[in-house]
Symmetry: C2
């Protein structure tokens, strides 16, 4: 009675080799816990879409259905509607980048652009360079194409260019397929690449003949400090990824890629194969929204809201977090990156945190090699300031419990004190 | 001074090997010509969305924006909304297939399911089996994963099971990664797999332990004859692809896949990497449409419309097309497949046809190996009957011109007469 059964998966041995290293998204896996009312979620980078005026959305949708019915319901072009690409041209001009509509392809969020770029550029075994930590969705997208991922550490000015140069020297010219970077309010580290380093990065990329992919979802959400020119403004060969998810809404799944024409041509082939075309309805609705409403006001409002939440989080961290913790101080975007002593395994601590009514994303999700378990990403974008303070207090309790043991070890001289720095100071 | 310049693409040598065989879609490439008012398009398989009542769409969109605002604008789950999957469960029950919501993932049209299945199942060099000709979008999606494609010929009862069996014997058990089939009103051949052959196909797939992918975009658009049970109704291990594009609208980019749980789990990982999630807005809008309107009436109306267009095309073919031509007689769906003497290259003839105000898709687009150039796919779904008659008359003229030379050769005994049959009779 009660014989243990071996469940035989008759599909085993049928999957493609490329899926071996594709991991589930730690953030997506937390969606269940994150949506419980009693849990303060610092896990998902979800914009606060409740700030987008409902009337504006209704009006955009009504116009789309009424005035563009048959176009909106039909298949569209693979590159996306020229009208929406025209809006992107204007948006990019505002951040100092000159592109034409023919330099752009509309994608299913910026995530699709990451997948398609991986598909057209990465052969198994190719080396790619990313920041470490980096956006977990990029690691997920690229990993299906089986690259070797080299990570470059960051400090408060973003990617450490000296470390990048050392890697490029080691790999030699064309030694990597591309450098993937998130220069503004990096996900997950929250740091921003300084103007001087942007220039150096471009110089090195040219010198070593390695293409650059610039991912810029948060660029418009700056709370303080001056706007830094995108890498694409410094070099027309930079592949730039943008998204409407943070300035409007993720629910329409609209992003874009600006790239040199040959790259764009290959990407378009890959996009045809992946989904034929994007949603004409979503594109027209976005066009209506961006031409018919004061969307810049909404972004301004959102930026103020996120700035307040960042302040609440930084204050609460300073008040509640243990003395051993370090964290970054983002000038915009959605995320703070916090680091604990190497001894602490924040992945195994997560279940306990959820029990205490708070979630975060353990740091190893943002590295290709399982490191970073003593780190965590804290998203301040979604919860109200009061909830943020409450959540950080809860999280601090969970950490304190675990740190008591650590302190005893340090006092006994068994482990060294202090975290291993990822370019962060005591806030 | 008119010196010829060699344009150096500095991106050459940087693309992944897998993109080498990915071709552009012949149909997508014809979009430009197909949209000219003076051209009758038989090229794109575009549903007539003008038959979808505008008020119903407006009401669905308004409800979505008004009542589901923040959910519709936010990121959603990767597997798709459970409410929409519930609607799919009902739809599939109506065609004799029992599935639960957990057996389903909502995709960006059925095209995304093809791409994701290729991604999780095909290693470079793996053999896959398709009908020949087959859906060009499937060939496009699969080709990026570098399979060897074996094609099985069809006759008036669909895939020739004797030819399939011969291939399976040759390849041995598990010798192919999967069999991909479009049993109803096949794209592009227009033929339907008979009930007896469906049973045999499933038996053979089990015997040789090869998974089956059943693509069923047109199943509900039957003009005559009895409903044949889907393969998925005969075997729960069949991977079934469905789409809302033909019963509602392609513009929302919504399809689904029903598959065994292990496959679904891998597919979900691949989907997360490809786009995080589908559009919540599109899903909710579809839910509103399918629960709030008499959508079956719309499908009935559409089916009647398409039947009338098929009749117009078959009549016109009989009246105008040259004696050497053969074509299929579809009982539903969108397409007629026509075959000319092997001598005729319909790919090179296309430019001339466009000049004469008519387009089609040359047959080689539907084969992996460049064969089929003496064939063409004629989509009757989009043009009005009068335009269809006019278009076929124009096309017949272009063909007649070219056939004069052919006849002279046949008379002189230089080439043999008659087409090479793909299961079609003189209509």
């Amino acid at each position: 009675m009660g014989t243990a059964r071996v469940v035989f998966d008759r599909w085993d041995g049928r999957y493609a080799e490329r899926m071996r290293d594709v991991r589930s998204s730690a953030v997506r896996d937390l969606f269940g816990a994150a949506s419980r009312a009693d849990v303060v979620s610092f896990s998902g980078g979800m914009p606060d879409v409740s700030r987008v005026p409902t009337e504006a959305v209704m009006e955009a949708m009504a116009q789309t259905a009424r005035d563009f019915g048959t176009t909106a319901l039909q298949y569209g072009s693979s590159e996306g509607r020229v009208e929406l690409r025209g809006i992107v041209v204007e948006m990019m001009a505002e951040i100092g980048v000159r592109v034409r509509v023919d330099d752009l392809v509309i994608t299913q969020g910026a995530q699709q652009a990451l997948d398609l770029l991986g598909k057209i550029l990465i052969d198994p075994g190719d080396t790619i360079i990313t920041e470490g930590p980096t956006y977990l969705g990029a690691l997920q997208a690229f990993s299906a194409y089986q690259p070797r991922v080299v990570t470059i550490p960051m400090d408060d000015e973003g990617m450490r260019i000296d470390a990048l140069e050392a890697e490029l020297v080691r790999l030699g010219p064309r030694g990597a397929k591309f450098i993937y970077t998130i220069p503004n309010f990096q996900n997950p580290a929250g740091v921003t690449l300084s103007p001087e380093r942007r220039r150096r990065l471009i110089e090195l990329a040219r010198e070593y003949d390695v293409p650059v992919i610039e991912d810029d979802p948060y660029g418009r959400l700056r709370f303080e400090g001056g706007h830094a020119k995108p890498l694409r403004a410094l070099d027309e060969d930079v592949i730039y990824l943008g998204t409407f998810s943070k300035v409007f809404a993720p629910g329409l799944r609209l992003g874009w890629v600006a790239a040199p024409r040959p790259i764009l041509g290959k990407l378009l082939l890959a996009k045809q194969a992946a989904d034929l075309c994007g949603s004409a309805f979503a594109q027209i609705a976005a066009e209506r929204y961006f031409t018919g409403t004061r969307w810049r006001r909404v972004v301004q409002d959102l930026t103020g809201v996120y700035a307040g939440r960042r302040d609440a989080m930084l204050d609460a961290l300073g008040e509640h977090f243990p003395g051993e913790a370090r964290w970054t101080r983002p000038e915009g975007g959605f995320f703070v990156w916090a680091e604990m002593p190497a001894f602490l395994d924040l992945k195994s601590l997560l279940a306990e945190a959820v029990e205490h009514g708070v979630t975060y994303v353990p740091g190893d999700a943002f590295f290709p090699d399982g490191t970073g378990r003593n780190c965590m990403r804290l998203a301040f974008c979604y919860a109200e300031p009061d909830r943020i303070r409450e959540g950080i207090a809860r999280l601090a309790e969970v950490l304190e419990d675990r740190l008591e043991l650590y302190r005893a070890f340090v006092d006994a001289g068994v482990v060294p004190g202090g975290p291993t720095a990822v370019g962060s100071e005591r806030g």
